[in-house]
Structures are given as structure tokens and as C-alpha cells.
């Protein structure tokens, strides 16, 4: 594993080929949202007519909708007319020239996470215009994937190169009018990722390293579509443990997964957007719609998420279990410290016979953090023999934070079995003292106990990220106990 990591780091350090980030022309549209703006975006991206129509339909739906108000999160109303929906990357003149100009606090965090220097520069948005090696990481990975027949590219590229595939699947899991933010995303998304794994193919690598680099470029309204054809397997990892500089406060991504017969999709997320300062100033609003459909028999979709960042997280990665004997899983760690708020959970919609789902949610609240688990398990009348097991644990550090569990269970088939377990506990003084009495300092002891609490989720993460996620938890918890 160590050598794997080294390998990845080397790659990352070596190659930042020019053109790896798709540089847009420098036009920026004025803030505001209208049909005109959507036409402009679509034209800029040279999209086919059907996609423009699709965006416009989404926009019209959005106009009729109101922002959701049921989540346990508080924020001032968002002025959607104040956002610019298409802007070129910031001028390099504004970017820090070197790491010396970057907030030392941010650098400290990078150091703790063991992020290589080159990657630090990229994450901090340093204007690195040195010419890198001509061999691009992206190309290397792409070659390997292409040999296996896997398509993995930016969403824009997919629209250009594989329009029929995109058209066939886009919006079939998350319809344009699914919810307020999904509708907004459908109208204005600028880019994202596309992955297609053909029949019978096991993707030869974790789609993580590539993404990790690529992800620095993600926009505010990101669109991801992953299709696993019959019998194929793919493991996808999004995000990065390092906090990233970002000027956009609102992030409203949509992720759609489609698994056909016997296909398996594993989607892991480590989310560490800027959480705002200790008083709750600034920070990202992460309003994401993620849903996978087990369309085929015996297919499976597994979501694993480690959410430590963002000022507000609003996110419910879900599974629609349509195929008979299909399996949905949701493993989640959500940590809120300082003034962070998280309302997160999942929906498991059982439609097919003998469908099974597992939900394991670990919420950690510290400081003034507020953490809600919101879950829906729905067993349709058609889902004979369906099973769900839900385990929902909350851990409180300190007395000013909050944990809330809001499960909803709807069972329309009498042969279904649904189990729900929930616990809420405070970090135990006895456990802390036990660790301390062995020479382990308070902060390390807290980390150890919290990591132990999250173990069932961490073990679902790809190895290299499990280690990073543990470190990340430690960094995110700093100052939480004292």
C-alpha cells in the first residue's frame, strides 16, 4: 500500500500537462439566471439541440419550484440572481504566486494531511505556469482505461464524443424536476464526469487518482453520470481530503448512477470543502443530489461517504432497487464541528423482489455542530421478500452540539423485513481516561475513539483513502475537546 501511495504521489507530482485543465475563453456572463444565460452556456459548450431543450425544460421546472425548507439547516436565503452561471477561471494575476502567499493555516493543514507540495500548490490555487512533463497523467490513465473499453472523461467531452449514450441515460435517475437544486443543476451545469463501463468489464483501476487531480477543476454545478453495463464492476472515488480554496459558496451537484444486470458500482466520497471559520463565517453550501438505480437484476450500488467539510451539507445518496435481488448500501460518516450543519442520509427505494439494503450512518457532532440523519426506507408492494437493516449512531463531543435522527419507514409488502437501530452517546470519559492512562494524549485519544466509532464505514473505503480519512477526521476535530 505504501508503495502504491508513493506511486500515486509521484505521478501527481510529475505530471501536470498543459491542457489538463480545460481552459475556457475568458468571457464571463453577468450574474443572473435566464433562458438567455442557459442558451449562452449551451452555445459556449457547442451542445446539441436536445441538450439545450433539456436544460430549458429543467429551468422552467425550477422557476415553478421553491427551495426546500424541511431540512434541519439554517441559512439566509440564497440570491440566485447574484450568481454568475458561467465564468472563466480567475485571472492568474489574482492567484497567489507561490505557497508563501497562501494562508499559513491552510498550509498547516496540508502538512498534517501529508499532501505533496505540488498538489498543495494546485489545491491552494497557486498560479503554476511552469511547463510540466509532456506525458500527462490523464493520458496514461486514459490509455489503460481505453484498452479495457472503459470510457472515462469530462461530461462535456462525453456530450461531444458519445452524445447518444449521454442522451440515453441523462436524467433517467434524477429527473430534471426531482428537486429544487437538481433542477437548477440540470439547467446550468457546466461540467463534471462521465463514466461508461461496458458489458462484462471490470474496470482495471479505482477511478480515484485521476479524479482527485481532476477534481480541483470542478465547478459549482457539477454533473456526473456513471453507467455500468451488465456484469461490469466499477469503483469510483470522488473528492479529496485536502480543503480546497473555492470562491463559490453554493455547490449543487447531481450524480446519477445506473447499474444493469449483475453490475456493481461502488461510489466513495471524501468531502472536505471549506467549512467556514469557527464563528460560522463563510463556508460552502453543499446541496447535492446523488442517486443510483439498480436497474438490472442482481445489481448493486454502494455509497460510502465521509463528510467533514462544508458549512452546510444537504445530501442523501440514494438507491432505487428496481432489479430483482438488487442490493443497495449506504455507509456514512458525517462530522460537524464549530458551526457546521449537516442534514444527510439516504433513501432506499425497494421496488424489485428480494431486494436488500444496508444503511450505516455515523454522525459526529462537536462544538456547535448540528448533525441530522434523515433516512427513508420504502418497500413497495412489488418488493416481496425485501430486507433492510439500518444502524444509525450519533456521537456527541461537548454539550453545545446536536444530533438528530429522522428515519422514515414505509412498508407496503407484508413479507418485507426492516430493522432499525439507533444510538446516541457522548464520548465517554472512561474511554478517554483509559487511553490517557496508557500515555496517549487527549487529542490523540479523542481521534482514536472517534475513528473507532467510524470503523464500519472506513473499512468500506478504498485502502489509501481509509488512511487519509482517518487523518482528516483528526484534523477536522481539532479544538473540539479541551
Amino acid at each position: 500500500m505504501a508503495s502504491d501511495n508513493q506511486h500515486i504521489e509521484d505521478l501527481v507530482r510529475k505530471d501536470y500537462a498543459a491542457g489538463f485543465f480545460t481552459e475556457l475563453e475568458t468571457d464571463t456572463v453577468a450574474p443572473g439566471l435566464s433562458e438567455e444565460v442557459i442558451r449562452f452556456i449551451s452555445a459556449k459548450k457547442q451542445e446539441p439541440e436536445w441538450l439545450l431543450e433539456w436544460r430549458l425544460a429543467a429551468y422552467r421546472e425550477w422557476l415553478r419550484m421553491t427551495p426546500p425548507n424541511w431540512a434541519r439547516v439554517k441559512h439566509a436565503p440564497i440570491d440566485f440572481q447574484a450568481i454568475s452561471y458561467y465564468s472563466a477561471p480567475k485571472s492568474r494575476k489574482d492567484a497567489p504566486k507561490s505557497l508563501d502567499e497562501v494562508d499559513p493555516k491552510l498550509l498547516e493543514t496540508y502538512a498534517k494531511l501529508g499532501i505533496p507540495l505540488r498538489e498543495q500548490e494546485m489545491l491552494a490555487g497557486v498560479a503554476v505556469d511552469a511547463v510540466f512533463d509532456s506525458v500527462s497523467v490523464a493520458t496514461t490513465f486514459k490509455d489503460r482505461l481505453a484498452k479495457a473499453g472503459v470510457i472515462f472523461c469530462s461530461f462535456s467531452e462525453a456530450v461531444r464524443e458519445y452524445p447518444e449514450l449521454v442522451r440515453q441515460y441523462l436524467g433517467t435517475v434524477v429527473p430534471v424536476g426531482d428537486n429544487y437544486y437538481a433542477a437548477l443543476n440540470s439547467a446550468v451545469f457546466t461540467d463534471g464526469s462521465f463514466c461508461f463501463v461496458p458489458k462484462g468489464v471490470r474496470c482495471p483501476m479505482e477511478l480515484s487518482t485521476y479524479f482527485r487531480i481532476n477534481a480541483a477543476n470542478t465547478g459549482q454545478f457539477e454533473r456526473t453520470l456513471i453507467i455500468a453495463e451488465a456484469g461490469s464492476h466499477v469503483s469510483y472515488l470522488e473528492g479529496c481530503t485536502a480543503p480546497r480554496r473555492d470562491e463559490n459558496q453554493l455547490h449543487a451537484a447531481v450524480v446519477e448512477l445506473v447499474a444493469l444486470d449483475d453490475a456493481r458500482i461502488k461510489y466513495s466520497t471524501v468531502q472536505n470543502w471549506y467549512p467556514g471559520d469557527a464563528e460560522g463565517r463563510g463556508g460552502i453550501y453543499n446541496f447535492v443530489t446523488k442517486r443510483g438505480e439498480c436497474r438490472g437484476a442482481r445489481s448493486s450500488i454502494s455509497w460510502t461517504q465521509v463528510e467533514t467539510g462544508s458549512a452546510i451539507t444537504w445530501k442523501y445518496p440514494s438507491c432505487v432497487l428496481r432489479g430483482d435481488d438488487s442490493v443497495g448500501e449506504f455507509y456514512s460518516v458525517a462530522l460537524t464541528n464549530h458551526r457546521q450543519q449537516a442534514d444527510t442520509g439516504t433513501k432506499m427505494i425497494h421496488l424489485g423482489r428480494n431486494t436488500r439494503s444496508t444503511i450505516i450512518s455515523k454522525g459526529i457532532s462537536a462544538g456547535h455542530g448540528q448533525n441530522a440523519y434523515r433516512g427513508l426506507v420504502r418497500i413497495a408492494a412489488t418488493a416481496a421478500g425485501a430486507r433492510n437493516h439500518t444502524q444509525c449512531d450519533s456521537l456527541l463531543l461537548g454539550s453545545r452540539c446536536g444530533a438528530h435522527t429522522l428515519p422514515c419507514i414505509e412498508v407496503r409488502n407484508p413479507s418485507a423485513k426492516v430493522e432499525h437501530e439507533a444510538t446516541t452517546s457522548r464520548i465517554s470519559e472512561d474511554q478517554l481516561f483509559y487511553c490517557q492512562s496508557r500515555g496517549i494524549g487527549t487529542e490523540d485519544a479523542v481521534n482514536m475513539i472517534v475513528n473507532g466509532f467510524c470503523r464500519e464505514v472506513f473499512r468500506e473505503l478504498p485502502m489509501e483513502f481509509a488512511v487519509e480519512a482517518q487523518k482528516l477526521l483528526g484534523v477536522s476535530l481539532e479544538g473540539a475537546v479541551g
Partner: protein, 250 residues
């Protein structure tokens, strides 16, 4: 090594220890016996620095320094070890992971090189033999689902790993069947050395048949009411604690 002088300890507004005085020399093994609720665990916890115990008077000096000013983890790094009467479970935390973190914290304090995963594994394997535990213990969660006896053995394993200067064993014998008791006692005997002192807290004389102490003290009503050699334990076994309570009152 350890000098406890006129120690007064309150829990809440109740005074538990009322002027306890005890001196343990280097390499000595002392046993403290006493009825339930007499304050044995209180003493053990105060030595380890558990929060919630207020020292209202007296002093504890360890290797000549004031022990009471140190945080629990600092005491551990200096070589104080407490084997708990009721070890807690730390779910999800791998036993090896905690042992390694603990050992490295102690080694770092001593200015020694920290051990990496491989070195630690080598190191810990030898210690496992001392308590006759097999390697599968290492990959389990700390005390998670351990039987009473396994928990106690795990405490001795931790002691064997940390190599303390002063080991306080709080009723490590209680709840053990005779085989487990022998294993634990054997482990302790193997770890006895001229540089390591022990304070054995026990309720029964039984343990002292296996680990023969240099001195035996009887704790009652918050202070040491009688001290003697190993034969005192036997006498107590025969006559019961009331015999001494009376004596103290007189």
C-alpha cells in the same frame, strides 16, 4: 520510588481517603487489602490521575517528584501504570493500534525511536507469550467482547508492553478462574524486576499465594490501619476485616 504522605481525597463532597501514608521502594511488591468500599480503587485512580477525585490534602511523590501536578498521560509516560479493575471497551479501535500508539507515546517521551508497524509486531509477539494470549487478540477491538478474564489479561499485556516503573494492579485477580489467575500471576512474576515496583490491590488472599509481596497493608476507613509481611494476608483471611476495624477505633 513512591511516597504517599497523609493523602486526603474527596469524591464529590464525600471524603474517601483520610490520611493515607505509604512508601514503596524500588523493586518492591506491596499489597493493599481491604473491605469493599474502603477506597482501594480510589487510591489506584488518584495515582493514575483520574478526573473527579479531589486531593484535599497530603502529597504523592514519584521518583522524588510531585506526581499530582502531572496529567494522566504524563504519569503514564513517566512509568505509572494502572491495570483497571473494570477495563473499558473502546469499540472499533484495534488492540494493536492502541498498544502501538501507547508504546510510541511512552518511547517518544523517553527519547527513544518510535517503532514502526513491523517492529512493533515483533515486539508485541514476545509480550503475548507472557500472558499466554494468541495473536488473534491483537486484531480485535480494545476489550471489545472480551470475557472478564481476557480483559484482565489484556491489562497485563499492556503492562508488559509499556514496561512501567510502578504498576498498580486493581483487583486484577477478581473474576478470574484458577487457571486465568495463574496465568496472570505468572505474567506479573515474569515482569518483576529490581527496577519495577508493584502495588497489588486485592480483596482476597488468594492472589498473594502466587505473587508473594514484600509487604501487606490493610486499608480501612480511608487509611492504612495495619502493615506487615505476607503472613498478614493469611491472618486477615482467617479473622476478617472487622478485627482490624475494631483495632483502629481503639
Amino acid at each position: 520510588m513512591l511516597d504517599i504522605n497523609d493523602l486526603q481525597v474527596c469524591v464529590g463532597d464525600r471524603q474517601i481517603l483520610r490520611g493515607l501514608t505509604l512508601t514503596i521502594g524500588e523493586g518492591e511488591v506491596h499489597a493493599i487489602m481491604g473491605p469493599n468500599g474502603s477506597g482501594k480503587s480510589t487510591l489506584a485512580h488518584v495515582l493514575a490521575g483520574r478526573p473527579g477525585y479531589e486531593v484535599t490534602g497530603g502529597s504523592i511523590r514519584f521518583k522524588g517528584e510531585d506526581l499530582l501536578v502531572l496529567a494522566p498521560e504524563e504519569r503514564a509516560r513517566q512509568g505509572v501504570f494502572l491495570a483497571f479493575q473494570y477495563p473499558v471497551e473502546v469499540p472499533g479501535v484495534n488492540n494493536t493500534y492502541m498498544l502501538k500508539a501507547a508504546l510510541n507515546a511512552v518511547r517518544k517521551h523517553r527519547g527513544e525511536q518510535e517503532l514502526d508497524a513491523m517492529e512493533f509486531l515483533q515486539f508485541v509477539k514476545k509480550r503475548l507469550e507472557i500472558v499466554q494470549m494468541n495473536e488473534s487478540f491483537l486484531s480485535r477491538g480494545v476489550n471489545e467482547g472480551f470475557s472478564g478474564g481476557e480483559k484482565k489479561r489484556n491489562e497485563i499485556l499492556q503492562m508488559a508492553v509499556l514496561e512501567p516503573v510502578l504498576a498498580v494492579l486493581d483487583e486484577t485477580d477478581s473474576g478470574l478462574d484458577i487457571d486465568a489467575l495463574r496465568i496472570v500471576a505468572d505474567g506479573v512474576n515474569q515482569l518483576r524486576s529490581a527496577a519495577r515496583s508493584f502495588l497489588l490491590v486485592t480483596h482476597y488472599q488468594r492472589l498473594l499465594e502466587y505473587i508473594v509481596p514484600d509487604q501487606v497493608h490493610v486499608l480501612a476507613d480511608g487509611r492504612i490501619v495495619k502493615s506487615g509481611g505476607p503472613e498478614l494476608a493469611l491472618e486477615l483471611e482467617m479473622r476478617g476485616y472487622d478485627w482490624l476495624r475494631g483495632q483502629d477505633a481503639a
